[in-house]
């Protein structure tokens, strides 16, 4: 900056008005419902430890309209977060096998397969 340069200021709502920035903010904001869900799960855990009454109270709260709405939002946030993350994964970890570049779609698919495998495993564990 030599003479009187004009320094543009970033407006607080810089992310409004451009679709890609909005999508980015939405992706980042998913951390809020997800963090809240983690807190909720911790509360549930505490409830389990405290005894059947606390646990029932927790389950009732979860079954309430607000509780259900919250869980739906959290799931949607989690899914959006996962989908965007998986889509970006190939660019974060390019892989070369046998001198050839592994297609990005394979890396993405591997993420989904792993996620599904974990879901299945958890489900089986819970059911046992």
């Amino acid at each position: 900056m030599r003479t009187r340069s004009y320094i543009p200021r970033m407006p607080v709502f810089w992310w409004i008005g451009r679709a890609s920035y909005l999508r980015y903010m939405l992706r980042e904001l998913t951390c809020v419902p997800i963090a809240a869900w983690v807190i909720m799960a911790t509360v549930g855990l505490v409830g389990l430890v405290l005894g059947p009454a606390a646990w029932q109270g927790f389950l009732q709260a979860m079954a309430s309209p607000a509780g259900l709405a919250f869980q739906v939002i959290a799931i949607l946030a989690g899914v959006y977060h996962a989908v965007t993350w998986f889509a970006l994964a190939p660019r974060t970890m390019p892989l070369d096998l046998g001198g050839r570049r592994v297609p990005g779609s394979w890396i993405q698919a591997a993420h989904y397969i792993l996620m599904l495998a974990i879901l299945v495993a958890v489900f089986v564990l819970v059911e046992i």
Binding site: R4, P8, M10, W14, W15, R18, L88, R91
Partner: protein, 246 residues
């Protein structure tokens, strides 16, 4: 040759006057095949000699003519008039200080470039009278990241560049990655002092807009995430290296 009148509204700024930037419109008769740069040259030659902007090669390889066209960072020499609406707003690159009209201060980038040590740092001296062998596969690993023309469109697109004046920025970091991936180089840990610092790759939150606007498909966003991964792994394996050294 069909002509079309394009109304170009350009952000003007004269640092010697005590006025903030303002818009000035010009009606430009454009040929069908023109790029925006041709229209700007017409303005300068025939309408207003006081308009200042940078340009040189007119073939999207020198990186001089980056500007923001209706909100999108673009190279003026590769923006075809036929793809533009009848009225278009042209502003200088965002997030960087404006020196005059469409000319921004690039010092931040030039300094950042020096800081990432963008030269080959070999672990041993190269052969005297022969080339260091490098297979086509090894070349392919970093080639993409060597294609940056330093046009700074990515700086205009990146909100972190705007929010954090110290952030090194996409192009400088992508260049560090180019050298990190070069089989002739062993400087990754050296560069990590800068790239892994608080103004390095960890300022990036993967908005990804830099890669969207890059005219050479360098994918600086991808480069930065890869560096984050490498940086993390280096941090985890640091005890092993300390063990090796002692």
């Amino acid at each position: 040759m069909t002509q079309r009148t394009l109304r170009i509204e350009i952000q003007r700024y004269h640092p010697e006057d005590d006025e903030p930037p303002y818009w000035q419109g010009y009606n430009v008769p454009c040929e069908e095949h023109w790029v925006l740069l041709d229209a700007l040259n017409y303005v300068k030659d025939h309408l207003d000699g006081t308009l200042s902007y940078r340009w040189s090669c007119h073939m999207a390889v020198c990186g001089s003519c980056g500007m923001v066209v209706d909100g999108d960072p673009m190279l003026a020499c590769k923006t075809f008039v036929r793809d533009l609406p009848d009225t278009v707003r042209v502003a200088p690159l965002s997030n960087l200080p404006v020196e005059r009209d469409l000319i921004v201060d690039q010092d931040r980038f030039m300094t950042g470039l020096s800081q990432v040590s963008p030269w080959v740092i070999p672990s041993e001296a190269p052969p005297e009278d022969a080339e260091t062998r490098q297979s086509p596969q090894e070349l392919a690993r970093f080639r993409q990241y060597s294609m940056c023309i330093n046009c700074l469109l990515c700086y205009a697109a990146c909100p972190q560049v705007g929010l954090n004046p110290g952030y090194l920025g996409p192009a400088a970091l992508a260049l560090a990655h180019r050298y990190n991936l070069d089989s002739r180089d062993d400087g990754r840990l050296w560069r990590a002092e800068v790239t892994g610092s608080e103004n390095g790759v960890w300022e990036c939150t993967f908005v990804g807009e830099c890669s969207e606007v890059c005219p050479k498909h360098v994918d600086p966003a991808g480069a930065i995430q890869q560096m984050k991964l490498a940086n993390s792994l280096d941090w985890l394996t640091a005890p092993l290296r300390r063990k090796e050294r002692s």
